[in-house]
Amino acid sequence: MSNIDQSKIRNFCIVAHIDHGKSTLADRIIEKTGLLTSREMQAQVLDNMDLERERGITIKAQTVRTVYKAKNGEEYIFNLIDTPGHVDFNYEVSRSLAACDGAILIVDAAQGIEAQTLANVYLALDNDLDVFPVINKIDLPSADPEKVINEIEDVIGIEAQDAPLISAKNGIGIEDVLEAIVAKIPAPKGDPEAPLAALIFDSLYDSYKGVIIFVRIKEGTVKKGTVIRMMATGAVEEVVEVGYFGAGQFIPCEELSAGMVGYITASIKNVKDTTVGDTVTDHNRPCKEPLPGYKKVNSMVYCGMYPADGAKYPDLRDALEKLQLNDASLNYEPETSIALGFGFRCGFLGLLHLEIIQERLEREYNLDLVTTAPGVIYKVHKTNGEVIELTNPSNLPDPSEIEYMEEPIVSAEIMVTTEFIGSIMELCQERRGRYLGMEYLEETRALLKYDLPLNEIIYDFFDALKSRSRGYASFDYDLKGYEQSKLVKLDILINKEEVDALSFIVHADSAYERGRKMCEKLKDEIPRHLFEIPIQAAVGGKVIARETVKAMRKDVLAKCYGGDITRKKKLLEKQKEGKKRMRQIGNVEIPQKAFMSVLKLDDKK
């Protein structure tokens, strides 16, 4: 295995918009190259988390090596690196792309190019990858391959006339794709004798092997016993094992040399030491400089996570610890809320990342969680010159100590069919978007460009976008920077008591609207008590909106069940059970879902 001819290696990935069939094509490639029979394949081998399969998205990069015997009689090694497919994971995507030499662009024959397609293609081109297109789902009645081919040439500007026309689902045209991989993806370069330089494009934690680092060897060779150093984090370890990726398994081998894709284990205990994008080098014979493109990933979205049952706090801590082993982009630190007790302030790449972590905690670790409204990092410039990075609204200093505040802004691209341009522009306007321009990609589709405050898109922007375009709009964004903004803290008072877990930072102009909607929503969520409960929204102590939960007038079962006590008791038990899912704030019991329901406030459908 050690004498692999570089010219027979193809390192590539598939880029696509969500749902355009990326994972299905990956499955077909694996199947056709004989790594697995179709019987052994569970649908979509590469998406191996339950959650990924359910949502049809790839969360963690997956990689697989197969061998393909081409029509020219030669055997080729294919390293297929499956990239995560969501804007939250852009940086991971860019590093996975950097591990490849080429990319297959897969486009849905019926839907054509989408915002994410563009974003991913640009990422691939930025990484100097050779991209060749494949038109998928040609068997759909609404397929229009000609139109899509023209669109690819016009919009992206890559040759598409001889793009394979395929149906990954039905196995049509897969041979063409395999031949195109051989013909169009360049073989890797690099000197096996040079000092080691390997790009980390993913890592995962295994309880037996420790951290397993996924690498692309750019230069040099690594084998068992090599003392390696992560150039960014500085961690130094001796290599225990190197190998390559079977389908769902790790296959050890002698060495990995320039051009190859594989894994390294070195009894590393923490994925934090092996951040994506870092360069692995030989500690004793280091390369001159690290590979380009490394950056430290920062959390963009923060929220509080609390166990529904306070006694489960240690369980939540353990679960977060375990998840973090596999997910270096998850941050958390303990915090306390008056309303919710002990919990954690957690940082995520984006809202999808947040939702994924939340679902994994609930499913895999069987935890019932209460999540506070997600927020972004605000920069608070204090009058004394100090700058605070604020992730928890409760920690906002007194207004008298604040000189000004800044909020993160993203550049967003929204692709939409022309009939919905109006409603999408209206949405962006409501979310304080700054219109930058619009390009028509073809007669019926346009690309809208906006600068948007991040805090306006993390709540329910994606849902609103989908519902206002009947699912047709797609969206992509990049962090642009910070801008000064008129921000205020909106507090919610329930029965005159401030509920810290419901506070959030909002632009002064939308404070009234948000406050009003919050109060309305909470009025529906909070059950009636024996007394009247005022729900108020306040900014700086001044009430700006109010609703009232009326007092309950009776709660009695004036019905005789005779001797059937069991039935009566079941009713009371149900009532008591309902109370268990409540949080006590002062003398008001608030259902846990009330804390979450206020996140989705867009009422225009």
Partner: protein
């Protein structure tokens, strides 16, 4: 000698009422005969177990027991007297509905030993009766009531329902007035509960849920506020006429409280016979099968038995006992469980006293306000 009470279930009716979710249905003559035979068999074969107990109260409920053939039913009562030691002054109640009784049948019941009748009137307005799916009119009731008095019944209960769809406070007041003028010994005032699996649920289910959430519906079912006014009105009018509000939904003239129901609230022993009937005996609960075919095949066989834990018993002691106006006595609690109720429930009791829902200490009872929120209070007594 220890005593027990006996409940006998007759699951027949002429036609299912639209709000009814009890175990009852219209049955043909043959099934009715088979049922009475099975019931008789059960009563006879079970007698041995209770030979050391006297029977203090008997209650024949349904369904509509008066739908059953009077001679057949009286035959069962006769068997009961023959096989059990029924106390001389035992309270023997039977539910009847207007439109299913006549002077002849009522005399038969009285002669067989029934000494208390519970008449299902529900409303004195014919349009409300029709809406409920009742088979009788107010006039049918008046006739039945008069015939019952003539047959010698000196202890009669009348059932009245509030919170009906479209019912106003005045409508309810009128029904109350009319019933009071007849001077029955006992009046039960229930609120309509829109239960799942009923005709009414299909029509009013959504509104009911809205009322539960917000206190107000769509204007067809009375709001929570109106319902509370109805309850307050009943309390005021009936108390003025010398009825005592002795349980959440029951009023009686002095000495006429239903002894059988009190057995339930005080968790004394009671044995249920018939389809789906529940029993409580020495802190064990058993329930007959609810499947008619199964019951007919083997009326003494299939019983679901549940041995109640001390926790179950304590909970029941509290939430059943508190239904009664007189409340629960700590001395009784100590007799049952060997410790004071304050050892288990101090926090709950203090909290509810503070909220003005409970009062007293040795004797603990719901306040007037507490009666309005009985479920809220009772749910807290589940451990």
């Amino acid at each position: 000698m220890n005593s027990i009470s006996i409940y006998i279930h007759i699951p027949f009716c002429i036609k299912k009422c639209k709000y009814c979710d009890f175990l009852s249905a219209p049955y043909g003559k043959t099934v009715q005969e088979e049922y009475l035979r099975a019931l008789k068999q059960e009563i006879i074969e079970e007698a041995e177990k209770y030979k050391d107990y006297t029977v203090k109260t008997v209650y024949i409920g349904g369904g509509t027991p008066s739908v059953a053939d009077p001679d057949g039913l009286c035959g069962i009562i006769k068997k009961l007297f023959a096989c059990y030691r029924v106390e001389k002054d035992a309270e023997i109640s039977m539910e009847v509905n207007p439109g299913t009784v006549n002077p002849d049948s009522l005399q038969k019941y009285r002669k067989a030993g029934i000494n208390r009748l519970s008449i299902g009137l529900q409303s004195t307005h014919n349009r409300e009766l029709e809406l409920l799916g009742r088979i009788h009119t107010y006039e049918d009731f008046l006739e039945a009531y008069e015939n019952a008095r003539k047959a010698g019944f000196e202890n009669i209960n009348v059932d009245l329902m509030g919170a009906l769809p479209g019912q106003s406070l005045t409508d309810y007041e009128e029904s109350l007035k009319r019933i009071i003028s007849l001077k029955p010994e006992h009046i039960s005032t229930y609120s309509l509960i829109v239960e799942e699996n009923t005709e009414f649920y299909k029509i009013y289910g959504e509104e009911k849920e809205k009322i539960e959430r917000t206190g107000e519906g769509f204007g067809i079912l009375p709001s929570e506020e109106t319902e509370r006014e109805m309850a307050a009105l009943a309390e005021e009018m009936l108390t003025k006429e010398g009825y005592r509000h002795y349980e959440i939904s029951n009023y009686a003239k002095e000495g006429k409280a239903c002894k059988h129901n009190i057995v339930y609230w005080k968790r004394r022993n009671y044995i249920g016979f018939g389809l789906g009937a529940a029993s409580l005996f020495e802190n064990t609960r058993f329930t007959n099968t609810k499947n008619l075919t199964e019951y007919l095949k083997n009326p003494v066989g299939k019983r679901e038995v549940e041995k109640l834990s001390v926790k179950d018993c304590m909970e029941e002691f509290m939430f059943l006992g508190l239904r009664m106006y007189e409340g629960v006595k700590d001395s009784d609690f100590i007799d049952c469980f060997g410790k004071s109720m304050y050892t288990c429930y101090k926090d709950v009791i203090d909290k509810n006293k503070e909220e003005g829902l409970l009062t007293g200490s040795e004797t603990l009872r719901l306040t007037d306000k507490g009666f309005c929120f009985a479920n809220y209070v009772m749910a807290q007594f589940l451990l």
